[in-house]
Subunit: 208 residues, 2 copies
Amino acid sequence: MRILITAGPTREYLDDVRYLSNASSGQMGYALARSAIQAGHEVALVSGPVILPPPEGCEVFQVETTDEMFAQSEKLFSECDGVIGTAAVCDYRIKTRKAGKIAKTGEAISLELVETIDVLAELGTQKGNRWVIGFALESQDARFNAVRKLYSKKCDAIVLNGVSAIGSTENYVEVIDQTQKTVATYSGEKAQVADSLIAWIQEHIVAK
Amino acid sequence: MRILITAGPTREYLDDVRYLSNASSGQMGYALARSAIQAGHEVALVSGPVILPPPEGCEVFQVETTDEMFAQSEKLFSECDGVIGTAAVCDYRIKTRKAGKIAKTGEAISLELVETIDVLAELGTQKGNRWVIGFALESQDARFNAVRKLYSKKCDAIVLNGVSAIGSTENYVEVIDQTQKTVATYSGEKAQVADSLIAWIQEHIVAK
């Protein structure tokens, strides 16, 4: 089986220096890539800027912006059996990026942010026979928002985690499938959680 | 001699997940800390979020936002002989930070950004007998802007570098002193540039 995994943050620039991003470390996605390879699968990993070494035996595609992540992922998805979207995509971009570095003037500046493309939702609309596993990072109304994303992104299942997962080596996750129920929970080091998630996907998504 | 060095980026949050920042790696500041220690000085290093190991023999103070960097630096400055400000401070913050994680609605959002405190300029106003070395990262009108910052931040000298320095292991710098002229240029690995800069400061700023 060949699996597409997205990982890490993306960046959306205001000017040549400043950008909007988040503290995603990419650890969950890289751990899933390692687990999937150990389980005998091929992995194409599309990664935003992180400082992790590429997992052994894994094709890694480096991207920076959300548009780049989408373009690379779409290209790879056609040759994959499914996708796991762990990337903490920067889902707003600055409407009008400035050239150079905006110089301070003492005045406030007003920025208009528009939504970036929803990478996983786009892949969801193109899925056909392929499976799609999403990740939802929620701070409030967590299960409600996760189920909403499960449908809007056409996921087979969605993995819910909290804000405390960002940058941490550990994670607590709930797997919600199309019954809208939590059907599995895993906690511990991200490497262990990744092993469990790959096994769960194999048993409950791929085998069906 | 005891030297205060600021390094790395700072982050300014929109909500609990998203922030404004830049790709500063902290390498120049950490290299200067190492060079200064090797030259027999004490260093207090105030660092934004970077992934570098703390230089041996260096007190490191981790901060995240610009306000935190200022508060920590001000506290330390009173017991130092001078400051080298290499930090690529996030010089805008979001006027009204939201709690939780802003949920996407499909609509554009408008953000008001206000300037953060100018860490080095504030230390400059408090300098008394102490010396202040600034760094200017400029994309256009570079020397003009560097000289403007030299005065507005009450620096004894300012080190000018270009946007290509961000995240790079190498650097090309010009040292501009109060004559408004470039009095030294150094290029190469940041570790070498740091050695040269510490020697220059020792000879031209401290010895005078």
